[in-house]
Amino acid sequence: MSKAIGIDLGTTNSCMAALVDGKPVIIPNAEGERTTPSVVAFTEEGQRLVGTSAKRQQLANPRGTICSIKRFMGRQWDEVAEEMAIIGYLVEKDEGGGARVRVEGTRYAPEEISAMILQKLKADAEAYLGECVTAAVITVPAYFNDAQRKATKDAGRIAGLDVLRIINEPTSAALAYGLDQADDQTVLVFDLGGGTFDVSILGLGAGLFEVKATNGDNHLGGDNFDKAIVDWLLAEFKREQGIDLATDPVAMLRLHAAAEKAKLELSTMPTAQLNLPFLAATPTGPKHLKLELSRLQLNGLSAPLIARTIGPIKQALADARVGAHKIDQVVLVGGMTRMPAVRDKVRELIGKEPRQDINPDEVVAIGAAIQAGVLCGEVKDVLLLDVASLSLGIETKGGVFTRLIERNSSIPTCKTQTFTTAEDNQTSVEIHVLQGESEMAAFNKTLGKFLLIDLPQARRGVLEIDVTFDIDANGIIHVKAEDIVSGNERQIRIEGGSGLAEDEINRMIKCAEEYADAAHRLRELADVRNHAEVLAAEIELSLNEYHDQLKESEAAEIALRIAALRLAIGSVDAREIRTRTAALVEAAQVLRYEEEEPW
């Protein structure tokens, strides 16, 4: 039987978990790590690396190493200026205005890069669990919009996974914590990860996890804290040495790596040393960077970033209509919540000691595994009632955004509202479907447009046009418009404004499958070569030992076939190697050489 797993596809690190004997456990990757860096690298030799091996060679290969790809998922090129400042690789605008990564002359959609990470996770999970993994629950930040969710789902498909559900990361964390809770509770989840900040408020009771409100900042995460430290280092270095390192990509990557390390150290130590020898070369000799950063200084640098979490928390509390004093539990998620200043801020705002008894890097994946269990019928007594995290509606007269579904409405849900025409004898109306919180349509995100045509002749304001929004449990939106008198109706299924076209996805699925096949073939070739090499060496040894007991012609034949096999080993033709191996074994019969394992 195939297995469904839970995947936390993070900005900097990804993590996976599955139910084993009904209990959620973290699945380590092939390298034995419990989290996998969300990094994909393309080496000059044309090799593709994913995870730690990719991250390790980043310094040597900044242009070919793709990190933080999650920040580009489902986004238009125009929306990613802030992201571009952080990355060392090239992102271009494609014909449709989407963001595309360019490496070594090839363009990749962010979905494809994410799929490469998912593909590795899938393969590693299969190796660990010893069964086929075909389905997954993947988590996204609560504040991801429809296009970003769709992109994540597509990445799963490209990697060969049936994505059972996309769930919000903070919700997932609450699932992981709340399994054993019997009483009614209100939980606030504070999730500060590598690239995004999310806050969610959930009501728990009798196995039902009801999301009450979500809010967040799509542009706030650990990367921003690293960047604050890097900016400080740049300024210090410029002041001391008069050199601006900002234009040197390798120096920048070294600074980023050092900044991240210092940030981590400062979670447990009062000061951290930053020591980067040979950071720049000048006519007067090499320049080194040697600085000390204290926790107090770091708190100063990160205070404006931490302050950005306050607004979303307050908004979420207001939306959920609960006061801070009514929060029963505070759950911390994401590596950034290890930072003492972050924890202090949460404690100050909510007035409760936050819980962190499940590893904040793993808690989201664990919740996703539980949800996968719910959807496969393996977990019976739990149900997650999620919400639409952004409002949905249509454009009405004057460019006004009229909401049909308010943000934080429980899903599945369905709403109908009656509209009318704005002009006499109007023959058609355009339904412009939008998502967002602005009162003006122009500032929200277009999800789709369609026309309702052949309206009967009528004065303005007379026709009744029912517009229905329908969101299923997967968050897929259907919009229908119906002219009540004539019964004339049109509908669309929202597919995500800037997403990939179906044929593009199919092409990518094929590429991914081919890559998986190629990887499989390469492994097979390596096995065949190993076997042949060992065999050739053993037979050569026996031949030297028993040479005297053989006929001259037999000995010559064996030596010849050894040489031929060795020649074949140098090629990439597995079949040729197999044939030559068999031929050698046959000739070596006279040595009574018996192969231990038959082919």
């Binding site: 200026a81 802030e82 571009m84 400042a85 009771g205 009798a206 196995g207 039902l208 009801e210 601006d244 234009t247 404006p304 939306d319 209509r321 006061g323 009514k326 959807l375 019928g377 149900l383 997650l384 009632l385 249509i394 454009e395 009405t396 007269k397 004057g398 460019g399 006004v400 009229t402 909401r403 308010e406 409405s409 429980s410 899903i411 599945p412 849900t413 369905c414 709403k415 109908t416 509202q417 009656t418 509209f419 009318t420 025409t421 704005a422 002009e423 109306v429 355009e430 339904i431 412009h432 602005s438 003006m440 122009a442 303005r460 304001g461 007379v462 009744e464 046009i465 299923d472 449990a473």
Partner: protein, 363 residues
């Protein structure tokens, strides 16, 4: 002609009524302003012809052009509110969302009665405050030139790369400006609210909620920050205004058919406590949800019905006096026809109920 009462604002009535006679211009379409009182709060209203107005009808789908008459009425609504704001002095006044109407004065009175607790607390919270708007624009070409001067090394980089770096630097500058301006002002304000930028060049459009007695301090701070950045930025300072951006109250008349249907979907008796309503909802969700019934094609539909029914019942209960933000709403809520029809459903988020409520309107 079909007339309705248009409600501009709710005002605090404790220290006397505003002198509406002094306001010669009148309300929308020059109709005289009048006042409807309930206890120590009051609504300022005028009569409108809804056939002329287009209000009360369901929303009209955009055709791209904005009507002049609509703009004129919106302007009038703002003028009336500015006048009331001037009259209110240290008392609170609450501009209601443009377009709220009631059938007659009796209904206006019922609105005030039903929503009294919420309106009163809003009035108290916003008492003696005003809204000040800061809009800041920049000239991007000038900013970019400045950046190039600061970073001459950009000239040597290839054009695509340079363009990107320039763009990033500009974004950074923008964030620094916004942080610097907000940093100077936020301490003097009680709250702030962002509005979308009106032009491409606008980098900041934020309303601040400021105590009236801090107006001078705030003015000085705005002056100082505008002077500090006068070479780079253009400031527009609007106000004092009524606190439009800090109240968002919508009211809707209780619709018995809808509330009754919802109650029956939740399988509730005619009177129920908040606890029993919640528990009934949870049980039904657990039983119906498609995740629990993957093979039942009806599951999704039934869940949607339960979800909407609960939203309606919840909004109804929350609109009743005594619900508030307390730990546990006291007693039982009645779903009897006369109770529901008396209720006005207030939602300061913009109302899930508003939509459903409107279905009952004649088109």
């Amino acid at each position: 002609m079909q007339v309705k009462r248009f409600i501009y604002a709710t005002i605090d009535n404790r220290s006397g009524k505003p002198d509406l006679a002094a306001y010669k211009a009148g309300g929308i379409d020059s109709a005289p302003l009048e006042i409807v009182c309930y206890r120590d709060i009051a609504a300022v209203v005028s009569t409108i012809d809804i056939n002329q107005f287009g209000l009360g009808l369901p929303g009209e789908i955009a055709n791209g052009e904005q009507e002049e008459s609509h703009k004129a009425r919106l302007l009038k609504y703002q003028q009336v509110n500015s006048f009331l704001f001037g009259q209110a002095g240290q008392n609170g006044m609450l501009p209601l969302k443009f377009g709220f109407t009631a059938s007659n004065d009796e209904e206006v009175g019922r609105v005030l009665e039903q929503a009294y607790v919420q309106l009163r607390s809003y009035l108290d919270r916003l008492q003696g405050t005003m809204e000040l708007v800061i809009q800041v624009s920049w000239e991007l070409p000038k900013i970019l030139q400045g950046i190039v001067k600061e970073k001459p090394e950009l000239a040597g980089v290839d054009p695509v790369q340079a363009g990107r770096l320039l763009f990033e630097a500009a974004e950074n500058k923008k964030r620094q400006f916004v942080a610097a301006i907000h940093g100077k002002l936020s301490a003097l304000a009680k709250d702030c609210s962002d509005a979308p930028s009106k032009t491409e060049a606008m980098i900041f459009n934020r309303s601040y909620l400021v105590d009236k007695d801090k107006e001078q301090l705030f003015d000085d701070a705005v002056d100082a920050v505008a002077t500090e950045f006068e070479d780079a930025l253009t400031f527009r300072y609007i106000g004092p205004l009524p606190v439009y951006s800090f109240v968002n109250v919508e009211l809707n008349q209780g619709n018995f058919a809808m509330v009754d249907k919802s109650r029956k979907i939740l399988q509730l008796p005619e009177k129920a406590s908040w606890e029993s309503i919640k528990s009934a909802y949870r049980q039904l969700i657990m039983a119906y949800h498609p995740d629990k019934n993957p093979d039942d094609p009806q599951a999704a539909q039934r869940t949607k019905e339960v979800v909407s029914a609960f939203e309606i019942v919840k909004a109804y209960c929350q609109s009743l006096p005594g619900f508030g933000e307390q730990e546990k709403p006291p007693g039982e809520f009645s779903f009897a026809q006369e109770e529901v029809e008396k209720a006005f459903i207030l939602d300061d988020k913009g109302a899930p109920l508003a939509r459903a409520g409107r279905a009952g309107h004649p088109a």
